[in-house]
């Protein structure tokens, strides 16, 4: 969404009184879109996300609209991947932002990053919906099959593309059995026991591979973790 479009879209919402920080965050958010990358901008982006969540906690609709604009792509992509349905993903995305609206006061920047909080919230809702729909009929290797092959330099979204590449490269370096277990857990919401059953692999082996895969993933992401917001 272009700057003019964003301003036009957000101007339709009421601006609560006494919300200077929220307004400032919304204004900065307009000038530091998600696509920008670089240490300074990312630090600002992190601060802006924190300020926006605090403003949402004070019932600032415009702040929520800004968060929606900044996170709709990554969250919607995650939801579509988990639910394998655009319709379900849209439904859950609306639920996620309703939950953000209700629970923004629970966010504590000392205990976690806004990005992690938002993504965790969205993933949790999606996994709940997935279980509700009992749609775990997908084949075992769905997660692994759909993940790395989509890496492309032709991405229209620069930041998303770069961040996606960082993660995909890291995943590509993981041993296949570790990567599969991580993706089954993350995108299909399977527990270790369920993965063990799905892959006909001993539970102890699954636990070991999951932990090893996470340690390796963190090492590979290394200093680039901050760029993942």
């Amino acid at each position: 969404m272009g700057l003019s479009n964003r301003n036009a879209a957000t101007s339709a919402f009421r601006r609560p009184k006494n919300s200077f920080i929220g307004n400032l965050a919304v204004s900065l958010a307009s000038y530091i879109p998600l696509l920008q990358i670089g240490t300074l901008q990312l630090e600002h982006a992190h601060s802006i996300d924190v300020a926006l969540l605090h403003a949402v906690a004070r019932r600032d609709e415009q702040a929520l609209a800004s968060l929606y604009d900044r996170y709709r792509v990554i969250l919607f992509g995650l939801l579509v991947r988990i639910l394998n349905s655009r319709e379900e993903a849209e439904d859950v995305l609306q639920e996620v932002f309703l939950q953000i609206w209700r629970r923004a006061a629970d966010f504590d920047e000392r205990r976690g990053r806004p990005f992690t909080w938002l993504v965790t919230l969205a993933r949790s809702r999606a996994i709940d919906r997935l279980r509700f729909l009992a749609s775990r009929q997908r084949v075992t290797d769905t997660a692994a099959r759909e993940a790395p092959e989509e890496v492309s330099d032709a991405a229209s979204d620069t930041l998303h593309s770069e961040q996606r590449e960082i993660v995909q490269r890291a995943l590509a370096e993981l041993p296949e059995e570790q990567k599969l277990i991580l993706l089954l857990a993350y995108f299909e919401g399977l527990t270790q026991s369920e993965i063990s059953e799905r892959l006909s692999t001993p539970l102890g082996t699954v636990k070991t591979r999951m932990r090893s895969g996470m340690i390796k993933l963190r090492e590979l992401l290394g200093s680039q973790m901050k760029s993942l917001r």
């Binding site: 403003a55 492309s152 993933l217």
Partner: protein, 273 residues
């Protein structure tokens, strides 16, 4: 379980992949272990990074309408719950005039309204009918009560008359109709105390504003008695007290007078003894 055992569970917890029992045990530990809380937060950051693996080369976007739907849902919830603003003041639940929207009538609502209107109309008609019936019943009850009261009074008079006639010393005098009312006839019974009972027949009901009056004529001077009327059968009854000076009167007469009676006769004599 050793601290290291908990630490080794943190990666799975960051992926929400622990089985329920393990998750409960770890969560209880993390509540009281700052080191594990920090470590878990770090693993959660790593796990959250996997979200980027979901993005395709052409990122998918939700429909444009979803943004407005989401914000409308938030506004509706805010209005419904009367949530608090940042400064702690409660947001008014009063809807601005320009925010009002026409009620969207569904077929169910329409039929519900029609059914409610029909029930209301039937109920109203029933109440009106019952009210009318109640009024009629009250009138009938009043009429019957009046009839009973009159019958009782008549019965009491007849008992008095029988009692007086049966009393020793009671005298009976007959009054016959004059030329003014030749078909009329009356009997007057009176005892020694002067208590008198008059029973008349053949006297038509008096005209409006008129009544029959009894006279006691003593020494050629008429003394006024009470007035009375007759029913459609021409019958009438009167109890009276004969004045002491008229106890020895030999003549009794009945005239037609104004309904409240007069001290001296003005009308024609209809009956006389």
């Amino acid at each position: 379980m050793a601290h290291q055992d908990y630490q080794e569970m943190l990666t799975a917890q960051a992926l929400n992949a622990l089985d329920a029992d393990d998750a409960r045990v770890l969560e209880a530990h993390v509540q009281g272990c700052a080191e594990c809380r920090i470590e878990l937060s770090s693993w959660e950051d790593t796990a959250a990074g996997l979200a980027f693996a979901a993005l395709g080369t052409q990122p998918v976007e939700p429909t444009i309408q979803l943004r407005e739907r989401t914000l409308q849902a938030i506004r509706a919830e805010t209005l419904a719950l009367g949530t608090f603003e940042g400064d702690g003041s409660r947001v008014s639940n009063v809807v601005d005039l320009d925010q009002r929207r026409p009620r969207s009538w569904t077929p169910a609502l329409t039929w519900g309204a029609v059914a409610a209107a029909v029930v209301f109309a039937v109920l109203g008609a029933s109440i009106f009918i019952l009210w009318q019936q109640n009024l009629a019943a009250r009138d009938e009850l009043a009429r019957l009560t009046q009839q009973v009261r009159e019958a009782n009074e008549q019965l009491a008079r007849q008992r008095d008359a029988l009692g007086m006639v049966a009393t020793p010393g009671t005298r009976m005098t007959e009054l016959a109709g004059t030329n003014e009312m030749p078909g009329a006839h009356a009997m007057l019974a009176f005892d020694q105390s002067g208590r008198a009972l008059l029973m008349a027949k053949g006297l038509p009901p008096p005209p409006t504003g008129k009544a029959y009056q009894l006279w006691f004529i003593a020494g050629g001077r008429p003394l006024p008695g009470k007035v009375f009327t007759t029913d459609n059968s021409g019958a009438g009854m009167l109890t009276d007290q004969i004045p002491a000076e008229a106890l020895k009167a030999a003549v009794f007469a009945i005239t037609l007078e104004p309904k409240d009676g007069v001290p001296a006769p003005t009308g024609a004599i209809y009956l006389k003894s």
